[in-house]
């Protein structure tokens, strides 16, 4: 039974309670005190010390101005690149279906950092290890929901069983469609490149607007298909050689 997040961006008010609750529960350091000039976003992106991050997008479309807010988080991919590339076995899949970095095993090689299609996982400069959202593994073990979902005042972040969340999310999309919000759609429920995400989102614009990849995929999947291409190419080459050899013999 997998648990995860459904983040409904249409009710996010950008209060950042999720960011703060996450940092407080996990005792994460600050990202430095730097004015970014990027709307109200000064933590800028997910990283080793920011496991929830609220993006603020000021969007003008003709006469229509809107301010989109989205609380981003580790997607806990069903086919997780970080986990697959981890050479030490530090990254595991838990009994909650989440992807978890065991800090006592991680050796800081950084393979996961380049493998993640979302740019979620990151190494901390001081200890060199890789860090990201744990889906509050410790809280879940104690029967509590993750800190971010607990703190969210508008229920923009919903925590629960993925199948149930999916039903909720689909119902919400059809409600919004009924209200004329025709742009609403779910991102990541059935993402083929990752076999779906356990943390998925309701968006009202293209993924790129929220700084999400439009077609994320696990590099190992790409690698697998690459290898099959290589094999195919190899076979073709072998065939050509055989033909050549045979042909040569015929000569």
């Amino acid at each position: 039974m997998a648990t995860g997040f459904f983040t409904d961006t249409t009710v996010c008010i950008g209060c950042k309670a999720c960011e703060v609750a996450c940092k407080e529960w996990n005792q994460l350091p600050d990202d430095g005190f730097v004015f970014s000039g990027m709307s109200y976003d000064n933590t800028v992106m997910l990283g080793a010390s920011t496991w929830r991050h609220v993006a603020f997008v000021e969007r003008r479309r003709n006469d229509d101005f809107s301010w989109l807010m989205m609380s981003d988080v580790c997607k806990h991919c069903r086919s997780a690149a970080c986990l697959e590339v981890c050479p030490t076995g530090a990254i595991v899949r838990t009994e909650f279906g989440s992807v978890y970095v065991q800090p006592d095993i991680c050796n800081g090689c950084g393979y996961c950092v380049v493998a993640c299609p979302f740019g979620v996982i990151d190494r901390r400069e001081d200890d060199g290890r890789a860090w990201k959202c744990t889906l509050c593994y410790d809280r879940q073990r104690g029967g509590l929901e993750p800190a971010c979902a607990k703190a969210c005042p508008t229920d923009s972040i919903r925590f629960g069983e993925v199948d149930e969340l999916r039903r909720l999310a689909e119902a919400r999309v059809s409600t919004l469609h009924g209200e004329g919000v025709s742009d609403a759609y779910l991102y990541g429920v059935d993402q083929p490149g990752t076999d779906g995400l356990n943390a998925f989102f309701l968006l009202v614009d293209e993924p790129e607007v929220y700084n999400l990849p439009p077609d994320p995929s696990t590099p190992t999947k790409v690698a697998a298909s690459s290898w099959s291409h290589v094999l195919a190419a190899g076979a073709a080459l072998l065939g050509a050689t055989v033909v050549a050899v045979v042909g040569g013999r015929q000569r």
Partner: protein
């Protein structure tokens, strides 16, 4: 609301999910606007013009709730024939005394009757108190057809007749189609079947005419029948967790607990005189003697007897206006010697930081209680004037005592929220080190003062010597039992010490004691009712078993208005409280806010007194006439009807009247408080508004010391439109300098379309948005916005005008050291009187000033 009250905003989002339309009126596009159905950008300081436009729309298009208006408001009352409206006197009401700069209000009264307000200022004028609670039950003459030109309805109609959609556009910069969209949405959602609610915060109150902003909303809501009904009302979003609580049990200088007025030295010479001047012969305030005597019994216990007027003479008296700005100005003049600052940071959070700090420098002693040594605690060490070299720490004589404070998780107590709901919180951990609760600090301070004064023979010290101050204490720090305090607030019978069940049982004969009559019932049955936490799904939708609401655990005040005059619900959909004809009593979803057995057809006899004057169809029982006041014949310093005036410093001339600003506003005419021209000041061409961000709390004492909050908004910044950025050559992320006649601050620039230029009478007006969280201390520091603001205030509430003023913006950082104030001409700073609006109270201020100069 999403920006500053994100937790409360969850209920707005829930309403939206259920189909509510959210309309957000704000100069800037905020996190609230982002999820609202309609965002209405408005020029700062013009909300009365906007709301007055709604009043005009409602009346002109006959969208008001006729039965409700006729039965429950004073619309039909006839007003004194000497009354003259602002339409007659070009922006002034009758009774203006230009010598005193005050109104004489007798012409505002009802025809042939004097009536007092349920709340408001008593000591309105330097002469006799004019607005004591009423001695008459209400207007004598009515016109039920509401056609008489002297009836309230016609006066209101005429007063707002020029507040047309065109005028709203001219003044507020709101396009007419957007205004009409809002007006239609509001009216079509207000009827027997539907109700609409207003929420506001300091964006309405912090103006030189702030109280009248809320009054205008009251008129709108009364006309639409949205008061006293579920889903209606006007909600004041309070700025801290228990600001409502500190109004109910006040930290205000002119009130005693439960909105009993503080006695005035000159008039309230003894208890009978005080009760006569402040009580009422009609309405619920006729019960006031019971509340006052019970309060005195709570203060002085056995020593309070009929013989000594229950210790009334131990009470301190008011000798004048001791509001915040008045006190700070007196500090700066060396009149006030000592100052307690508890959980507040006025050096950053209050207007005109420089004058605030000047006040602090002139004190003998200062006590600050806070989580961290704030800018107020260390004004002598880090402040702009010290950085500039104008003030040297070694020249400051103030002795500063800093007491570290416990947080809410480290102490027991209650919070009272805007809904008048008391919620108890229990101590989770002991406070660290020397940190103590306010309760502990105040208790032990009082205890030591009693020891100090124990041997005094001075008459004036009797109040301290005889005060009941015997709370049980517990724990290593001898912390007083907070529940014992709550019980005293709740009240008890003197003989056996049993908790009162409610204020209706209080007596004026000394047999009951009660610390705050409106909170009576919070400890009923000797149990802490405020600690109740029954989940929502185990009780009715009104949730009476969650916490405790004053008065009498009522969740909706004046809920008699949710039924029609005959006592039946206005509609099935909006049924809430109604008359049960068989049981002959009021009943419903909530505790009825009415005399339980008074039938709807009860009409008081001519000679009725006290609560017998409350008719069966008069829902507003705190008013002497039982009615909602569209027109306020008494109680306000600046007029019976809200009128659009420009802020003290504006970008525009008043388009409606010759009178530019609120004539009765409070102004401080001092060299260290220079003003700009009333409008069109070429040195300060832009409108400025100030606000909070979600990430920080007010002056930052709770947030700028925390890394997780500081990183979210690390630097002071301004918000400007791309158009203004182009005009001034500013780029996103640049440094800019903002100036007023008071000072200069620097900040980063955030260029955003969320701030829009406005078209005001064919000219473009730019607004600069400034959050005000930063100061010189904490993990993140920055210049303080409030240093820019002058001392100007609302005459009713003495609240600063910080939401609308003028200033300038230039590229680059401010100067350092003595060069810091370069952008302001020195001559101008030394001769501030040149820049004060000329003429009587801002009338044609700018013009007459130019005349003088030429």
């Amino acid at each position: 609301m999403a920006e500053c009250h994100p937790v409360g905003f969850r209920f707005v989002m829930e309403a939206k999910r259920r189909g509510a339309t959210i309309i957000h009126v704000d100069p800037r596009f905020t996190r609230t606007s982002a999820v609202a159905d309609i965002h209405v950008p408005i020029r700062p300081g013009t909300d009365i013009a906007f709301l007055g436009g709604l009043v005009n729309y409602i009346i002109t298009n006959e969208r008001y709730f006729t039965e409700y208006v006729k039965a429950y408001t004073n619309a039909t009352a006839l007003v004194n024939e000497n009354f003259k409206d602002t339409e007659d006197l070009d922006g002034l009401f009758s009774g203006w005394n230009s010598e005193k700069g005050q109104y004489e209000i007798s012409s505002w009264q009802y025809d042939g009757a004097e009536v007092g307000p349920a709340a408001g200022k008593r000591e309105m004028f330097s002469g006799e108190p004019m607005s004591e609670r009423g001695t008459q039950s209400g207007a004598i003459h009515h016109d039920e057809t509401m056609q008489d030109p002297r009836c309230v309805f016609q006066i209101v109609k005429r007063h707002y007749s020029r507040y047309t959609p065109e005028m709203v556009e001219d003044i507020c910069g709101i396009p007419q189609d957007k205004f009409l969209q809002v007006a239609e949405a509001l009216c079509s959602n207000s009827s027997r079947e539907r109700t609409s609610a207003f929420c506001y915060a300091v964006g309405w109150t912090q103006h030189s005419i702030g109280v009248q902003y809320i009054r205008t909303a009251c008129i709108v809501q009364l006309l639409l029948g949205n008061i006293g009904r579920p889903g209606g009302g006007i909600m004041a979003l309070r700025g801290h967790a228990s600001i409502q609580g500190s109004t109910d049990i006040p930290t205000l200088y002119n009130l005693l607990p439960g909105y009993l007025p503080m006695p005035h030295a000159k008039y309230d010479t003894d208890l009978p005189t005080y009760l006569e001047a402040n009580g009422s012969t009609s309405g619920w305030w006729s019960e006031m003697p019971k509340y006052m005597v019970s309060l005195l019994k709570a203060y002085w216990g056995d020593d309070a007897t009929e013989h000594n007027e229950y210790g009334y003479h131990y009470l301190p008296r008011l000798s004048g206006d001791h509001s915040h700005q008045v006190t700070v100005a007196a500090m700066a003049d060396g009149v006030v010697k000592g100052y307690f600052v508890m959980g507040e940071n006025p050096a950053v959070g209050s207007m005109h930081g420089q004058l605030q700090r000047k006040g602090l420098r002139e004190l003998d002693w200062l006590v600050v209680r806070d989580f961290a040594p704030t800018e107020t605690a260390e004004f002598w060490k880090t402040a702009p004037e010290i950085e500039r070299g104008e003030v040297r720490p070694e020249d400051i004589g103030t002795e500063v005592f800093f007491f570290p404070a416990a947080t809410h998780t480290e102490k027991d107590g209650s919070f009272t929220n805007t809904q008048r709901l008391l919620q108890w919180h229990h101590k989770a951990i002991e406070p660290p080190g020397d940190c103590r609760s306010e309760l502990g600090f105040t208790y032990h301070l009082g205890r030591r003062l009693r020891e100090l004064y124990a041997d005094s023979a001075e008459q004036r010290d009797l109040g301290i010597q005889r005060l009941t101050w015997d709370y049980p204490t517990k724990g290593p720090h001898e912390e007083p039992d907070a529940e014992a305090v709550l019980k005293e607030i709740n009240g008890y019978t003197v003989q056996d010490g049993k908790a009162m069940s409610g204020f209706k049982d209080l007596k004026d004969d000394g047999s009951t004691a009660c610390g705050c009559w409106i909170y009576s019932g919070a400890y009923a049955d000797d149990a802490n009712q405020t600690a109740r936490r029954k989940p929502a799904d185990e009780q009715t939708w009104v949730a009476p078993d969650w916490g405790w609401a004053w008065p009498s655990n009522r969740r909706l005040m004046y809920n008699r208005a949710s039924a029609d005059p005959d006592g039946n619900p206005w509609s099935e959909r909006k049924r809430y409280v109604w008359w049960d004809a068989q049981k002959k009593k009021w009943t419903g979803e909530d505790v009825p806010d009415f005399i339980e057995t008074r039938p709807p057809d009860y009409r008081p006899a001519e000679d009725a007194t006290g609560t017998d004057t409350i008719g069966g169809a008069d829902p507003f029982i705190m008013q002497a006439d039982g009615l909602g006041w569209l027109y306020a014949p008494n109680g306000l310093q600046d007029g019976p009807l809200p009128t659009h005036y420009e802020p003290e410093e504006s970008v525009a001339e008043n388009a409606l009247y010759l009178q530019q600003c609120n004539p009765a506003r409070m102004e401080w005419d001092r060299k260290d408080n220079p003003f700009h021209r009333a409008f069109d000041d070429p040195r300060f061409p832009y409108a400025i508004t100030t606000y909070r961000l979600t990430e920080h709390h007010t002056a930052g004492g709770m947030t700028r010391w925390l890394s997780w909050l500081s990183e979210l908004q690390p630097e002071m910044f301004c918000e400007i439109s791309p158009e203004l950025a182009r005009e001034k050559g500013l780029r996103n992320g640049d440094w800019a300098t903002i100036s007023t006649a008071r000072t200069v601050i620097e900040c980063r620039v955030l260029v955003t379309e969320r701030i829009r230029p406005m078209r005001i009478r064919k000219r473009i007006v730019h607004t600069i948005g400034l959050p005000y969280h930063w100061g010189t201390k904490g993990l993140v520091t920055g210049d303080s916005t409030n240093d820019l603001i002058g001392f100007v205030a609302d005459p009713n509430s003495s609240i600063q005008e910080s939401k609308a003023f003028t200033g300038n913006i230039e590229r680059g950082r401010r100067g350092r050291g003595r060069g810091m104030l370069e952008p302001i001409d020195d001559k101008l700073r030394d001769l501030p009187e040149v820049h004060k609006p000329r003429g009587k109270h801002g009338v044609r201020a700018a013009t007459s000033q130019e005349d003088e100069e030429t």
